[in-house]
């Protein structure tokens, strides 16, 4: 057997960064010279900002290389695999020496993401080798009752990771209490929150963990059918889930009398979503599985009584399920030793936006926001000034700079007016306009409103109109008050979570950044220099050297001028993309 193993990270992020080319290069080199090393695949370990990632494991241990391209692949083969001489400057993570990127992992505790980036997600044996399906086997071998499983989950303090934060064990207890010949366990993998991708990474990186969590959940509540409702936009996740489901069936983890437990029958199938944010809401999701328009319905009856096809049903999020096998295998204390008084365990966050080290991190609940952004995330891109972080997507809100020392758990985040949501953290710097951010989310919720409730349907539209007007310099006195009033009405008069939370981004930005709204309305200025209608780019003739870079970079050919002579921006054509501004090496372009 080969002593050296080369593992390429093939998550969606890695593939987008060119990991397939890198994988093929290794394959080509291996085959051309019949080299003696094993080539393998894994998913993302969360370090998306250094993708493509390649791990080399040999007798000395493991080294992960970042930003690998085809040329670096050749170097890695020649120097590390053949020459046994690791290229230290490319290494981003190893246990043998400190790397500049090491801080990204300091403070992380990986429970939900325990296998992501460490196993080949298409190989069930690699999941089993890291303790996979042990929790399920434990249920059978130790004759643990469903009620004991539920108690374990309650003791662990696990709360719904989809955003609601409802205690998972309690939810299971409600579902168990309702008897029926058909009962459903449903995995919500619709992840519609723009800016969040932890579910995608989990499904791509460790599909068996989610499936095992569902099987345990089904045992606990007495379900005999399972459905994974997954976004069609995640083709790789769906492909790997299908492979994992087939393998689980072959190995007897799904089917009849699972693990020899008499009467415990379960199969799981995937239902592809069709692109509607509102389907992340439980009742809308079930309507969609039934082949209807995904419109939410009134509760009660709750899904635990009458859910999918009018049968008792239980819906949990991907990350919630991924935690379950770990808790059952290791006991509730292994989980609740992390976290704060009311928020136990760990939480996965998707760090994106104007952050240096964007990617997935899993930290204990209660980790200070400052640590997540500055220690793990490495701070703000180009060392600009941190302004706010948006948490919870369209249902959430913006946490401003002066609250950066909060400890991130359900309670403290809610107190700011934002919500934990699924864990998308979009970092914003001084160049982000907060009015525009509010407008962006309203545009999203307005489009995604199913239209059932009048206030959600028309109220969000009117709010969007006001916000658009403000960002275009047409704001009027009284607009802020009008927005606040409408926000309350929409919140109070909507049936489902989408409408009830839609005004949150507006309310939190008004709360913390009222002065920016006022600057737009009164002075017709965008303090962040972001709203394009309020901006003009101009060339300073004293600084322009006629290097032509701006004209070359301009995607719409709005800049003309002869080489070595002062250039000029044609304002009628300019789309204000800022490519000229960002590329000028002489500071000759001004933004006003």
């Amino acid at each position: 057997m080969a002593e050296t193993k080369v593992i390429v990270g093939l998550g969606s992020c890695g593939i987008a960064a060119g990991a397939n080319k890198v994988y093929n290069k290794f394959k080509e080199l291996k085959e051309a010279d019949n080299l003696d090393f094993e080539l393998a695949k894994t998913s993302c370990i969360g370090m998306c900002f250094r993708e493509p990632l390649v791990e080399v494991v040999d007798e000395n241990g493991s080294m992960i290389y970042g930003d690998v391209d085809e040329e670096k692949a050749i170097d890695i083969i020649q120097q590390h695999v053949l020459g046994h001489n690791p290229i230290k400057e490319y290494v981003v993570k190893t246990d043998q020496f400190e790397t500049p990127d090491q801080t990204y992992f300091d403070g992380q505790v990986k429970i939900a993401l325990r296998n992501c980036g460490y196993i080949d997600p298409e190989n069930i044996h690699e999941y089993e080798a890291r303790g996979g399906y042990q929790a399920l086997k434990k249920l059978a071998h130790e004759s643990i009752t469903p009620e004991q499983v539920i108690q374990t989950i309650i003791d662990s303090g696990l709360r719904g990771r989809g955003g609601g934060g409802f205690p998972t064990g309690m939810k299971w207890r409600f579902a168990r209490a309702n008897q029926s010949d058909e009962k459903y366990i449903i995995c919500n993998a619709d992840e519609g929150d723009p800016g969040a991708f932890m579910d995608r990474s989990l499904l791509e990186g460790d599909p068996h963990a989610v499936i095992e969590g569902m099987i345990i959940g089904a045992y606990a509540i007495g379900a005999n059918q399972g459905v994974i409702y997954c976004r069609a936009e995640y083709p790789l996740a769906i492909k790997r889930l299908n492979i994992a489901l087939d393998q689980a069936r072959e190995h007897g983890y799904l089917g009849k009398n699972i693990m020899g437990i008499q009467g415990f029958n379960l199969d799981i199938y995937i239902k592809e979503g069709a692109g509607a944010f509102v389907c992340g809401e439980e009742t809308a999701l079930m309507a969609s599985i039934e082949g209807k328009r995904g419109m939410p319905s009134k509760r009660p009856p709750f899904p635990a009584e009458k859910g999918l096809w009018q049968r008792p049903s239980n819906i949990n999020n991907v990350e919630t399920f991924a935690n379950v096998p770990y808790i059952v295998a290791n006991g509730p204390e292994s989980y609740n030793k992390y976290g704060t008084e009311k928020s136990k365990g760990t939480k996965v966050f998707a760090l994106t936006g104007k952050i240096k080290h964007g990617g997935l991190v899993e930290v204990p609940m209660g980790t200070p926001l400052r640590d997540i952004i500055y220690k793990l995330g490495g701070g703000i891109q180009n060392d600009k000034k941190f302004k706010a972080v948006q948490l919870g997507g369209p249902s959430g809100g913006c946490i401003p700079e002066h609250l950066i020392d909060i400890q991130v758990d359900y309670e403290q985040v809610n107190a700011t007016g934002a919500i934990m949501g699924s864990g998308g953290m979009v970092v914003m710097d001084e160049t982000t306009c907060m009015v525009d951010v509010a407008r962006f989310f309203l545009d999203f919720t307005q489009k995604e409103s199913c239209g059932k409730c009048t206030f959600c349907r028309i109220g969000t539209k009117r709010m969007l109109e006001i916000l658009t007007r403000i960002t275009e310099g047409e704001g009027q006195e009284g607009d802020i008050e009008k927005l606040e009033e409408l926000a309350l009405q929409v919140k109070e008069s909507s049936l489902c979570g989408l409408g009830q939370t839609a005004p949150n981004p507006v309310l939190t930005t008004i709360k913390y950044f009222r002065h920016e709204y006022e600057a737009h309305i009164r002075d017709k200025k965008c303090p962040a220099h972001s709203c394009t209608k309020l901006l003009t780019y101009e060339i300073d003739p004293n600084k322009c050297t006629g290097c032509t870079v701006c004209a070359v970079k301009c995607p719409v050919k709005a800049i003309d001028g002869e080489r070595k002579k002062v250039h000029h921006i044609n304002q009628d054509i300019c789309i204000k993309c800022g490519d000229c501004y960002n590329n000028c090496r002489f500071d000759a372009i001004t933004k006003n």
């Binding site: 969606s12 992020c13 593939i15 987008a16 960064a17 998306c48 900002f49 993708e51 992840e191 519609g192 929150d193 723009p194 800016g195 969040a196 991708f197 069609a232 936009e233 995640y234 083709p235 239902k271 592809e272 069709a274 692109g275 509607a276 039934e290 082949g291 209807k292 328009r293 995904g294 096809w309 998707a350 994106t352 936006g353 104007k354 964007g358 990617g359 948006q390 997507g393 998308g424 979009v426 914003m428 951010v437 962006f440 989310f441 999203f444 489009k447 995604e448 409103s449 199913c450 239209g451 349907r457 394009t532 970079k553 995607p555 719409v556 789309i575 993309c577 800022g578 490519d579 960002n582």
Partner: protein, 176 residues
């Protein structure tokens, strides 16, 4: 509201019903009579033709007993379904939060300008359809676009236009 995403006129003068309906026969057989089959049926039809032709709706209605109104109700509700033909390559420009704060608007504007189409439209040569999507889940590489199955990250207006132009050059070379 969701149904406003529908283009006002469908077909663009193309004979929308000029499709080979036998292609969806296996699909109908697979899902006929199964509960909750409507969305998978529509998804299947769309993967065959790239959109859902009117003739296919009528065929589904005849074969499965689903009503046309139910089918249109669902097809117009979900963002995934298209009722008019699309170009050979579909450009999905991500407008998720991370992409938005990193300048996704500039990408869309540059592409609209270069291709001379609006959001949801197809170029006259039927090569490209430009679409805006909510989130592709590649937020750490923002701003991002996806052309067919390929995702491109860390874009600027000019790099996005360059990628599209390269595809166009390849297409013309293949023709020639």
């Amino acid at each position: 509201m969701r149904v406003q995403r529908l283009p006002q006129k469908s077909g663009n003068g193309v004979l929308a019903d000029d499709v080979d309906l036998s292609l969806i026969e296996p699909l109908i057989q697979k899902y006929k009579g199964k509960k909750g089959n409507l969305i998978p049926l529509l998804q299947g039809v769309q993967s065959v033709y790239g959109y859902i032709p009117r003739a296919a709706f009528e065929r589904l209605a005849d074969e499965t007993g689903l009503t046309l109104s139910d089918m249109y109700g669902v097809a117009t509700f979900y963002a995934q379904f298209r009722l008019s033909p699309v170009g050979k390559h579909i450009i999905k420009v991500c407008h998720g939060t991370a992409c938005h704060v990193q300048g996704a608007d500039a990408i869309s504007l540059a592409l609209k300008e270069a291709l001379k189409v609006n959001d949801g439209e197809t170029t006259p040569d039927k090569l490209f359809t430009l679409e805006t999507v909510a989130c592709l889940g590649c937020c750490s590489l923002a701003p991002v676009m996806m052309i067919d199955e390929e995702t491109y990250g860390k874009l600027t207006g000019s790099s996005a236009v360059k990628i599209v132009k390269e595809i166009k050059i390849k297409e013309t070379q293949q023709k020639g």
